[in-house]
């Protein structure tokens, strides 16, 4: 097969991958919302991916590797549950949390997909 055609094909394949990534990242990366806004519109956001920020407190580590903690911002707080390997969470440190907003029997929490340090 002609090398020039193959190089063109590889270029097209890479471009296809690049555009797919742009589209997917857009779907993956929600806008940053405050905890208050999320709690006030929990019905709307329930089951959807959200991104929020706040200060960690009441950290509970489980032997399974899971970690639960409260994320607080102003007068609002929400529980965050991490069911994957997440970085060490420190009391009173700021974090940006991305995950699915879950509601179970009226209790609202975030099933975290990504947690990183947040600089307000």
């Amino acid at each position: 097969m002609n090398t020039r055609i193959l190089l063109k094909l590889s270029f097209i394949i890479s471009l296809l991958g690049l555009f797919s990534l742009i589209f997917l990242v857009d779907a993956l990366e929600p806008d940053l919302k405050s905890i208050g806004e999320i709690l006030n519109n929990s019905k709307e956001y329930s089951g959807k991916e959200i991104e929020t920020f706040g200060i960690a407190s009441e950290i509970k580590n489980f032997s399974s590797g899971d970690i639960y903690f409260k994320l607080n911002w102003k007068n609002d707080s929400i529980e965050v549950r991490g069911s994957f390997i997440i970085p060490e969470i420190n009391q009173n440190s700021s974090y940006e949390v991305t995950g699915i907003l879950q509601e179970y029997k009226g209790y609202t929490y975030i099933e975290a997909r990504k947690i990183k340090r947040f600089v307000p």
């Binding site: 097969m1 590889s10 991958g17 997917l24 990242v25 990504k114 340090r117």
Partner: protein, 399 residues
């Protein structure tokens, strides 16, 4: 910002994939395990998705690059071992670059096949998975028989198939060394060929930077074979690219050139379908998918789609990088004293086996080398050395 992070992780992944691909004995699984062991630190600065992107990117680029040491240096891994013989033959005809190009063409089309197959497999695999598991041992027995029966010298072929099977069974089942496939495949397929090259005083002719002609019809026929054989092994435990190549080979005669395309395609398809298996049946079947599964416990549709998009992005880039390195290897190889090069590679892979798999791996390496040499001297096809995987896998299903 997240997009930039993904792009950066992809490019760093390509870099590591190139290093792993070009360095004999360094497998992506090793880098993935190291990455996983420091993941709690890395997750403090980035997300699991970014680490997943890095692993996918590294895996795909390695799939393209790892045929280079296999064909030019005779130093294979478990996925490229079967490429040694046709690749080496073409190298001795001055067509080493063309041989690599064939595997890269296979990889490029394999990538497209895997992407095209994914929507279908996502729905079908969870339904047919239990049935495939049941028929797999029978299929492997039939394939083993067809392998042996296709030989002109049946008894020597049976002998080679069984002794490599016994070696494989001992090495894979008794846990005597770490990374047991490294000394096993290096011995059977790599150092055996290098030793023969030293004793027969093989000289590498000047390499021509030309393509090898394979008709479009043959390429299509080969890709169809990879399309059927790769999904069969991608969702089952204990079987991988090499078994897929053996299965495809059993479907009918295939030229040595087309066989290189087949191997390139299978390598990529099996790697990508490893992530599809993680999504559809929640069972990771490749080392990379195992680590990704550990990083992202809920491996949903979006992470899978990101994997596929990264595979496309990196696949195109890796194809170009692969041709670049193949061209430079081809220019270099004929200027080097090949006997000294073979001896150096034997020394290097022995040291790598010692470091990675320990002292006992040297016994496996020597035994594998002896069986590999015996296979050549008896005039039996090297594919019969795949008994080292087929027999243990067949026994795994029965015991």
């Amino acid at each position: 910002m997240f997009f930039i992070e993904i792009l950066l992780a992809s490019l760093i992944g390509v870099f590591f994939g190139v290093i792993c691909g070009l360095t004999p004995g360094i497998h992506i699984n090793l880098v993935s395990i190291i990455l996983f062991s420091i993941s709690s630190f890395l997750l403090g600065i980035t997300s699991p998705i970014i680490l997943m992107v890095f692993i996918v990117s590294m895996s795909i680029s390695q799939c393209f690059l790892d045929f280079i040491p296999s064909i030019f240096l005779g130093a294979p891994d478990e996925n490229t071992a079967l490429s040694i013989l046709p690749g080496h033959k073409l190298l001795l005809e001055g067509k080493g670059y063309g041989a690599i190009k064939l595997t890269a063409i296979g990889g490029l089309f394999g990538l497209l096949i895997a992407i095209a197959l994914t929507p279908f497999l996502i729905f079908v695999v969870p339904i047919i998975y239990p049935s495939i598991t049941k028929i797999m041992p029978l299929l492997l027995i039939l394939i083993s028989l067809s392998l042996i029966m296709s030989e002109e010298k049946i008894f020597p072929a049976i002998f080679i198939f069984i002794i490599s099977g016994i070696l494989g069974f001992i090495v894979l089942n008794f846990g005597i060394v770490n990374e047991p496939l490294l000394p096993l495949f290096t011995g059977l397929f790599g150092t055996s060929l290098l030793t023969i090259s030293i004793f027969e005083k093989v000289k590498i002719p000047e390499q021509k930077i030309v393509s090898i002609d394979v008709s479009k019809k043959e390429i299509v026929k080969t890709l169809i074979k990879s399309l059927f054989s790769s999904p069969l092994v991608s969702f089952l435990p204990g079987v991988g690219s090499s078994q897929a190549a053996v299965i495809a080979n059993a479907f009918g005669k295939i030229s040595e050139k087309a066989f290189l395309i087949l191997l390139g395609a299978i390598n990529i398809i099996v790697m990508i379908l490893g992530f599809v298996a993680l999504f559809s049946i929640n069972k990771p079947r490749t080392g990379s998918a195992v680590i990704v599964g550990k990083l992202i416990s809920e491996f949903g549709l979006i992470p899978l789609l990101i994997c596929l998009a990264v595979a496309l992005l990196v696949g195109g880039i890796s194809f170009v990088i692969c041709l670049f390195f193949a061209r430079n290897f081809a220019k270099l190889i004929s200027r080097i004293n090949y006997q000294k090069l073979c001896l150096s590679i034997i020394l290097i892979v022995t040291i790598i086996c010692l470091i990675v798999s320990g002292l006992l791996s040297i016994i496996i390496l020597i035994t594998g080398t002896s069986i590999g040499i015996l296979c050549s001297k008896l005039g039996v096809k090297k594919i019969n050395l795949m008994g080292c995987l087929l027999i243990p896998v067949i026994l795994y299903y029965f015991i």
